[in-house]
Amino acid sequence: ILLQNRQGKTRLAKYYVPLEDSEKHKVEYEVHRLVVNRDPKFTNFVEFRTHKVIYRRYAGLFFSMCVDITDNELAYLECIHLFVEILDHFFSNVCELDLVFNFHKVYLILDEFILAGELQETSKRAITERMAELEKLE
């Protein structure tokens, strides 16, 4: 999962397969180049190496997920949207700066949402409640 802004700055990057650092940077760069120039009317899917990138743009931020070629694209598109809604709920009206300054929390939310590359919880309420519990512990 990659979260990049329009300038190609990575705001969040989570890999569920091991990659070298240099390889990660290459992937981030290439995905950004692939995604940023596409017309909004185009599909949200681009083929990338042996996989597919499902991306969605929210204001200046691109949410991209690299998935297997056989996976259900529409479902992942919905998945991205759900993630954004959760973020929105958690930060109450999320913006890019929230994600920059609270990047560790974004990671924690993501960990509650997706684990080992698979969906873990599909209920927005369950995740926000869980996050609140965890926050209380700190």
């Binding site: 529409l74 560790h104 080992a116 869980r130 965890l134």
Partner: protein, 864 residues
């Protein structure tokens, strides 16, 4: 204590970094922070460890190296408090991955945390394990995870289930341990656990066929029930997305059903009803609904569904295809591609819509649609489809043309029923996108044209016409030039006009013009130019009135900087100038190219040229390939073999071409000796070749077995020393430079003398290489008539290596009015022990009679 509320320094750092205007500033800030963190690490600072790690993670995200923080993660994980552990695990997941050695150290902490009484800490450990678990860790910790699957807390259960997925992926052998627990997860009510359980089952099926069987038996029923429940459930705000309850669960269940129902009629039968229900009831006006429908269709296609269900599925795809949302159309195309194997007829119905998608502006859609069209083509619809695609080729994007062209070409090749149609379509493609056509495609086209005698006239005329408008399409130009060269007279004389053709008048000089343009165009590449030269050569014999002009054009390229072109033009020039009598047979039309052999070759075997390549000029394919003596039509390189001497079978033709062959050999062979072949073999080969053509006429003045006791008188005439460099074939002996006496250490000898011929050898040695001698041979004609087709050959004993450079000419003017020079490089490997010796043989034409003279030279100056 909250690590972030106490110190605002993480925020400060992020602000500072954000405030940086240049990359250099940013680097400076990061360097400073890193230094501070390192210092803190070395002091073993407890209080700020978590904060430092958080900073490191941010720095890591910016792309800076952070290896030094790895141990800090482990320390934090080992500490007791939840906040420390939390940030430690986060760091672990971000800064490390499964391949690092350090990870081994964390296994123990993970084990402890998995058994912790605090469910949140267990959750953290599971989360970390799920994200970075390696194969060793999977083996070590699998029992703990399995135990947690049986626990009570849904949060832990779902995490444990996903962890198990990772474990199974790393170590598939462990799958059987998880089969039972996974099946029981499907009986849960909690959606998070359900979805995790379904995913675990899916992965189990992938990992292990036993697991697939087990789950098929035990879970199909349960799955159908789950799907029934979620799709029939009333509004559930917690899981509702756009009016549909938990679409994600829908999709996962459908996917697992696909795995279970694949090639299994019983379970497929069981699923039919619910699939039909989902397929008909799901609303398709929202993305989520479509996602479910899409997955449902895929499942219907994947399992042994009833035909009615399949029709339903294809119809859903048809609806998708006409949807205005590009995403939906994309998945529909994707799915149709899979459906085509199941029900091609149903997919054919959507052909026109798919064809429209090829013309979409979105590259992803275009690509899918094109691939689909490619699969759709059959004998019945190839003509309209190819026409559509070719029409579109004209207006398509540049970057799409390559793909499109390749696909059109392969469609046209694969389904062409008649040659005329094939040729027509290929010409269209060539003139629209010739630059994107791959070499093997136009090679194949030429093979086809050469095999269709009744269409050659039509082809060359169409190409000529196309050439007038599309000179910028490289492969069109190549094919056109080749055809004009081969079938030029059909162009001019309108041979074999088809009914559909418009009449056209092309003069001979028009045809030459066309080729000349191709030759001189700035953008033409080497291959095109070389092909143009050959076409001109061929035309020069067919269009006699233009031969003077062709000669001029060819001559212009004698100074070309490209070696290939220069060589060709020099060779061709010589053919035009001095071999009129054989030219026409030389440039005959090529024999019909072997279609089967070409196709076989194209199919993948890249066997080396099997034609008998007796000459070994590695750089010039044209020169080397024309030598095969017609025994094997060289199928391996039929298209480069443009000069085509294949028809010059030695027995058939008069001896003149043979001599010409020898002439060519005389150029070609010396190079082969330099590439390591023993010089004696080379010479033998030459002798053999010679004896074919010249054996009957040996009544010349030379007595071949008599060793000439040649006069030892030193040659009075100054012998030219410099070897001719440029004039490979052209007789320009006058440019020999005056002798450089200071280099002449050895006296010049008369190596051979007969009533017609005198040979003088002069020697040169480089002091640092005493074994090597450079010999300049000067041939003088003593008779009163000119000697033509002159060839000099030499043989040396085994201990000597010989390298013959090309002679300056093959014509020797009468009465000593000119000379031929040729240089030889001799390496005496037993220098100082054995003296040099040489046998020579001269073949030439004297008063139109073939003559042969032989001799032995043993009067070399001592010390060579």
């Amino acid at each position: 204590m909250n690590p972030f509320s106490s110190g605002t320094r993480l925020r400060d750092m992020i602000r500072a970094i954000r405030a940086c205007k240049t990359a250099a500033e940013e680097r400076a800030v990061v360097r400073k922070e890193c230094a501070a963190i390192r210092a803190a690490i070395s002091e073993n600072d407890q209080d700020y460890r978590h904060r430092n790690l958080a900073k490191l993670m941010f720095i890591h995200m910016l792309g800076y190296p952070t290896h030094f923080g790895q141990m800090e993660c482990l320390k934090l994980i080992a500490s007791a408090g939840f906040p420390e552990k939390r940030i430690g695990y986060l760091g672990l997941m971000l800064l490390l991955d499964e391949r690092q050695e350090v990870l081994m150290l964390v296994t123990n902490s993970l084990k402890q945390d998995l058994n912790h009484s605090n469910q949140y800490i267990v959750g953290l450990a599971l989360c970390a394990l799920g994200n970075i678990c390696s194969a060793e860790m999977a083996r070590d910790l699998a029992p703990e995870v399995e135990r947690l699957l049986h626990g009570r807390d849904p949060n832990i259960k779902k995490k444990a289930a996903l962890c198990s997925i990772r474990i199974i992926r790393k170590v598939p052998d462990l799958a059987e341990n998880f089969m039972g627990p996974a099946a029981s997860l499907l009986k849960e009510k909690h959606h998070g656990v359900l979805i995790a359980g379904v995913q675990l089952c899916t992965d189990l099926c992938k990992a292990n066929t036993d697991a697939l069987e087990y789950l098929r038996k035990n879970c199909t029923e349960g799955l159908v029930r789950i799907l029934k429940d979620v799709s029939n459930s009333p509004y559930a705000p917690e899981y509702d997305i756009a009016g549909i309850t938990d679409p994600f669960l829908h999709i996962r269940v459908l996917r697992l059903m696909r795995m279970l129902g694949q090639e299994d009629a019983d379970s497929s039968e069981y699923m039919n009803d619910i699939l039909a229900q989902v397929a008909t009831k799901t609303e398709s006006n929202k993305n989520v609904g479509n996602a479910i429908l899409y997955e449902c269709v895929e499942t219907i296609m994947g399992i042994e569904a009833t035909s009615g269900l399949r029709v339903l599925a294809i119809n859903i795809l048809g609806r998708f295809l006409s949807n205005r949302d590009n995403n939906i159309r994309y998945v529909a195309l994707n799915m149709l591609m899979k459906a085509i194997t199941v029900d091609a007829q149903a997919v054919q119905r959507h052909r026109t819509t798919i064809l429209e998608c090829v013309k979409d502006s979105d590259a992803s859609i275009r690509k899918r649609a094109l691939e689909l069209v490619f699969l759709l083509v059959n004998d019945g619809n190839v003509k309209p489809l190819a026409k559509e695609l070719i029409d579109y080729l004209e207006v398509s994007d540049q970057e799409f043309k390559g793909d499109l062209t390749a696909k059109i070409c392969s469609i046209v090749e694969k389904f062409s029923q008649e040659k005329l149609w094939y040729i027509d379509q290929m010409f269209k493609v060539l003139s629209l996108a010739g630059n994107y056509v791959k070499d093997d495609v136009w090679h194949a086209l030429i093979v086809v044209i050469s095999n269709a005698p009744d269409l050659q006239g039509y082809s060359v005329r169409s190409l000529y016409r196309a050439l007038q408008t599309s000179y910028e399409q490289e492969s069109l130009v190549r094919v056109a030039v080749w055809c004009i060269g081969e079938y030029g007279e059909m162009l001019v004389n309108n041979v074999g006009v088809l009914e559909v053709e418009e009449p056209m008048t092309v003069t001979e000089s028009d045809a030459v013009d066309a080729v000349e343009v191709a030759l001189k165009r700035h953008s033409s590449d080497m291959t095109t130019r070389a092909m143009s030269l050959i076409a001109l050569l061929k035309l020069s014999s067919r269009f006699t009135p233009t031969s003077e002009r062709i000669k001029e054009i060819v001559t212009q390229h004698k100074g070309s900087v490209a070696l290939e072109l220069q060589q060709r033009s020099i060779e061709f020039n010589s053919i035009i100038q001095r071999h009129q009598n054989i030219k026409s047979s030389l440039v005959e039309r090529m024999p019909v190219l072997d279609e089967a052999a070409y196709l076989g070759k194209r199919a993948g075997s890249s066997q080396p040229t099997l034609s008998a390549e007796k000459s070994s000029k590695p750089t010039t394919s044209a020169a080397s390939l024309k030598l095969p003596n017609g025994v094997a039509k060289p199928p391996a390189a039929p298209l480069v073999d443009l000069l085509d001497l294949s028809s010059d079978d030695a027995p058939v033709l008069p001896s003149a071409p043979n001599d010409f062959l020898n002439d060519l050999l005389g150029i070609g062979l010396p190079n082969s000796s330099s590439s390591g072949a023993a010089p004696s073999t080379t010479t033998d080969l030459l002798m053999d070749l010679l004896s074919i053509g010249t054996s009957p006429a040996q009544n010349g003045p030379s007595d071949s077995n008599v060793v000439p006791s040649s006069a030892k008188a030193a040659e009075s005439k100054p012998a030219p020393v410099t070897a001719p460099v440029m004039d490979l074939l052209d007789g320009l002996p006058s440019n020999a430079s005056p002798p450089r006496d200071e280099n002449l250490v050895y006296p010049t000898i008369t190596a051979f003398e007969s009533s017609t011929l005198k040979i003088a050898f002069s020697f040169e040695k480089q002091p640092e290489k005493p074994q090597v001698t450079l010999i300049s041979a000067t041939f003088t004609n003593l008779s009163s008539s000119t000697l033509t087709n002159f060839i000099f050959q030499a043989a040396v004993p085994k201990f000597v290596q010989l390298h013959l450079d090309p002679a300056s000419s093959s014509t020797l003017p009468a009465n000593g009015n000119g000379t031929i020079t040729q240089s030889l490089r001799v390496t005496n490997t037993q220098h100082g022990q054995k003296p040099l010796a040489m046998r020579v043989r001269m073949a030439y034409k004297f008063n139109d009679e073939d003559k042969l003279e032989q001799g032995q030279i043993s009067n070399f100056p001592p010390g060579l």
